[in-house]
Structures are given as structure tokens and as C-alpha cells.
């Protein structure tokens, strides 16, 4: 198998309105590489939700993507506050989003549930006061 194509993005923590840049770039790259549309769509959604979470909950972070034939791996690493109760955070509707984030349409408490639904694997390492790393693997379901 050829080596993975890797992309890395510094995700800015203070530009709420323009968040989502990294995910659109990844979506474009996956399309150009001829990845299947259903995989492109799921990967773009997972990446967007993860990217937005880093922006609105963790003051930014680093997103890394590894693209291989038939699979995409996304890692989102931040040095934010961490998630105290992961089980609670995974529940639909649970959100600690700020007023500012809610005014922009975030805070439905659906980001993590969406990531779980659209990714084939989701792993979250989080430590209070240290940060959170979310890793997702998506595979071509048509193969």
C-alpha cells in the first residue's frame, strides 16, 4: 500500500465565524483524490464537528489527517480544558457551549453524537486541565 497522504492544520481558537476552514480543505482534497462520495461526506462532517469543538470549547488546536486508499484517519488534538464526564458529553443534547457560540448556531449537543454516527471508529483521550485528543477512522463502506 502506498504511503499515506498527510495534511496538518493549525486551527485558530478565536475566529468562531470562520471556523471550518480545515474541513473544507480536507473535503476538497479527498474529492480530488477520487475518494468515494459517501466517504468524503462522512469524513468532512466528522472533521467539521471536531474542528468546531476545538474552536468553541478548547481555544483551538491541531488537526491532522492521513489519507490512504479506502480510509481516512483524522486526529484533533487540543490543550483545552478537557472533558470531565465523557459519557455525559456523548449524549445528544448535552452542551456547555457559550452564549457566543450558541448565537452562531452551535450548542445543539450533537457534534460528538454525529462523529460517533459517521465515523467507523471514534476514540477520545481527555484529561482535565491538559487537553483532548479525538481520533477517528473512516473506511470506504462500499469496498
Amino acid at each position: 500500500m502506498p504511503d499515506a497522504i498527510r495534511m496538518t492544520f493549525n486551527v485558530d481558537g478565536d475566529d468562531f465565524a470562520a471556523a471550518g476552514t480545515a474541513s473544507s480543505e480536507v473535503k476538497r482534497a479527498l474529492k480530488q483524490l477520487g475518494m468515494p462520495p459517501e466517504l468524503v461526506k462522512r469524513a468532512a462532517i466528522c472533521m467539521y464537528e471536531g474542528e468546531i469543538n476545538m474552536v468553541i470549547h478548547a481555544d483551538g488546536g491541531v488537526a491532522s489527517v492521513a489519507i490512504r486508499p479506502g480510509s481516512v484517519e483524522i486526529e484533533l488534538r487540543d490543550r483545552g480544558p478537557g472533558i470531565p464526564d465523557l459519557e455525559l458529553a456523548m449524549q445528544e443534547g448535552y452542551s456547555t457551549a457559550s452564549e457566543q457560540a450558541r448565537n452562531l448556531g452551535f450548542g445543539a449537543g450533537m457534534g460528538l453524537p454525529n462523529m460517533k454516527r459517521y465515523a467507523d471508529e471514534l476514540k477520545i483521550d481527555t484529561k482535565i486541565g491538559v487537553g483532548t485528543t479525538v481520533t477517528m477512522v473512516l473506511r470506504d463502506r462500499t469496498r
Binding site: 471556523a19 474541513s23 464537528e49 468546531i52 452562531l104 445543539a108
Partner: protein, 110 residues
């Protein structure tokens, strides 16, 4: 119904031109919470909302929504218009409520 027909039947303002006026609209979703729109909206459908920041364009692209309709006379900032045009997403506007617009959309389907 195509986007062209939607615009004329509901007398909508065109705030940004998307990819194709002849694209058929396959359904409709109303909502302002972006993560809900991502998971619940209809692919290829109309999205009626009162949200008007840049993330609206990003979500429309992610969810394969060709046409966003801003209800209740909500203004579209230039940056949102530009982003929608760039991404090939129609941005339409109306002074009517989301309910009235969805009802009119449903009625004029037939």
C-alpha cells in the same frame, strides 16, 4: 420543483447564485442548530433558517444542501453571500416566517 420555480412561486430574493437554477429540490428542513442540520437535513433539499453567519455556507456544503433560504427578513452579510456564491450554494431571502415558507413550498409542490 426546481430552484427556479421555488424562487418565482414564493417570490424570493436571490442573495447569492448557486450552481444550477434547474436543480430539483428533494425536500425541506427547518432549523438553526447547525449540528442538527448536519444530521437531519435532506440531501439535495431546501434549508430554511434564520442563521446568517459564515458557518451556514460551510454546513450547506457539508450536508449537500444546494439552497438556503433566510426567513423573517434576516439580512445576509456580504461575506456569507460571497461564500455561498463561491461554494455554488443558492442563498435566498424572504420576509415571511419559516412556517409560511415551508407551507408555501409544500403547497406549490403539487
Amino acid at each position: 420543483m426546481t430552484i427556479r420555480q421555488l424562487i418565482s412561486r414564493l417570490s424570493l430574493d436571490v442573495l447569492a447564485e448557486g450552481a444550477s437554477y434547474d436543480a430539483p429540490l428533494r425536500g425541506c428542513y427547518i432549523g438553526d442548530l447547525l449540528s442538527r442540520v448536519i444530521s437531519r437535513s435532506v440531501q439535495g433539499g431546501l434549508w430554511i433558517t434564520i442563521m446568517n453567519n459564515l458557518n451556514v455556507a460551510a454546513v450547506a456544503v457539508l450536508a449537500d444542501i444546494p439552497c438556503v433560504l433566510l426567513a423573517e427578513g434576516v439580512e445576509a452579510p456580504d461575506e456569507l453571500r460571497e461564500k455561498c456564491a463561491e461554494e455554488g450554494v443558492f442563498l435566498l431571502g424572504s420576509g415571511r416566517s419559516a412556517y409560511e415558507l415551508a407551507a408555501a413550498f409544500a403547497q406549490s409542490q403539487s
